[in-house]
Amino acid sequence: MKKITKEKLALFWELLARRATLYLPLQEDGVVNFAPWKNGARVNLRENSLVPPKNVFFPQAETYLRFQTGAKKLQLESLEPEEEFILFGVRPCDVASFTILDKVFLEEPVDGLYAKRRRLGTLVSLGCNEPGETCFCTSFELEPAFAPGADVMVWDMGEFLLWEAQSEKGDELTAKINELLDEAAPEESASALSLRNTTAAGEAAAGCQQEWNTAGLQEVLRGKFNVELWEKLYHRCLGCGICTYLCPTCHCFDIQDFSRGLEGERFRCWDSCMFAEFTLMASGENPRPTQKERVRQRFLHKLLYFPSKYGLYACVGCGRCVRKCPVHLDITQVMEPIK
């Protein structure tokens, strides 16, 4: 295991940023979000980002086609992401969200844009020292301080960060920045393991405050399409996009054209099942006519349809919807009564 002392971090960012675009959790106006690091940016390694890092692989809007008419033939040009990047500081829950997105985007038919970004990116995960009040990743068999899916795993040990490569990409990155890394002493390496254990144990203040028994939840939900719960829950929903846009596993999108004169472009952009427009058909018919059907869809998709198809829940317990839904219609509100 390697380590890097905190005084060297500024230098470290600079070095990394020279290799590739470096996304870090940056704080601006009190809000932490992943964004390309620039000199002088305020890095926040204490809080997880508000907008999940899914937007690095699956941006809120991305243009993938340009077109031009007018000449004899329609001219088309497809666009692809080209830039290598390092995504640093992703929490283990969010790393797990990529496993879920991978199911959607990397199985046939493969989504070229997402696949390319996955190839271009090196994922550095930062373990959680102290899961937040709304975190419940352990309920989905995840560890707050360990992300097997990351290329590199990093732990914040106060004075220094521990660094361990976990994949080929991780080794490559380590080799490139070796000059700033020191070898960690055995007892220092051991401290990472003890952090993993205390945070995963779910004990007192160190672990996740919320524990949900998710085993069998899927079975319980089967046949719950028409239960009264939905009737009870939906009234308060505002139909905003907060829960879906801030959810690291939500992946619905829309395709839109933008044109001016004879040229234009086609892009895909996030969409949300919480919007009435989401299922509105050209005929005017809407198969999910009220917020009730929409709320039900969101939760059944995450806890029933997705696991039925792919074998894992489409929630990683990051707690963003718990924290940010303005009317507390979060996923735990469904998991509780349904049991």
Binding site: T63, F258, R260, G261, E265
Partner: protein
């Protein structure tokens, strides 16, 4: 579509929404009277100044306008009696709001021009064009695509 995309020195694109009954007729008069005003100004005829929605103005800026003018009958002379009185309140608020967001106030202007004021039409459009030329291209509300 934008004039600005052409090579050479900057030529502003100005969209002028002109009410049918006064300002558009004023523009006509300027034309028939052989007064000149810059070709940078593209006139769009509307029934009344009060029909100009903020959507039209913002969209013009998004799609490449460097300045937008709304022109209507003088207060008191609106063909629909009071349209421009309402418009006057709305546009003053909009103008101040755009400035609050950091847009140069000169880029969105409202003028009252009667059907008989061909001279004034030409003068207003010339003056506006020069002002905007001096400001340079609008980038603030513009679609970057």
């Amino acid at each position: 579509m934008s004039v600005n995309l052409k090579q050479g020195p900057f030529e502003p694109l100005i969209i002028a929404f002109c009410c049918n009954w006064c300002s558009y007729a004023g523009g006509d008069l300027a034309g028939t009277g052989r007064m000149t005003y810059p070709a940078n100004v593209r006139v769009i005829r509307v029934p009344c100044s009060s029909c100009v929605s903020s959507n039209f103005i913002l969209r013009a800026f998004q799609r490449g306008a460097d300045g937008v003018v709304v022109a209507g009958c003088h207060p008191g002379d609106c063909h629909y009696t009071s349209g421009n009185y309402f418009a006057r309140r709305r546009f003053l608020l909009l103008q101040r709001f755009l400035e609050f967001l950091g847009m140069e106030p000169e880029r969105f202007q409202v003028h009252w021009i009667s059907a008989s004021e061909g001279n004034r039409f030409a003068a207003v459009m010339t003056e506006t064009t020069e002002k905007i030329r001096a400001l340079g291209p609008n980038r603030k509300l513009r679609d970057t695509r």
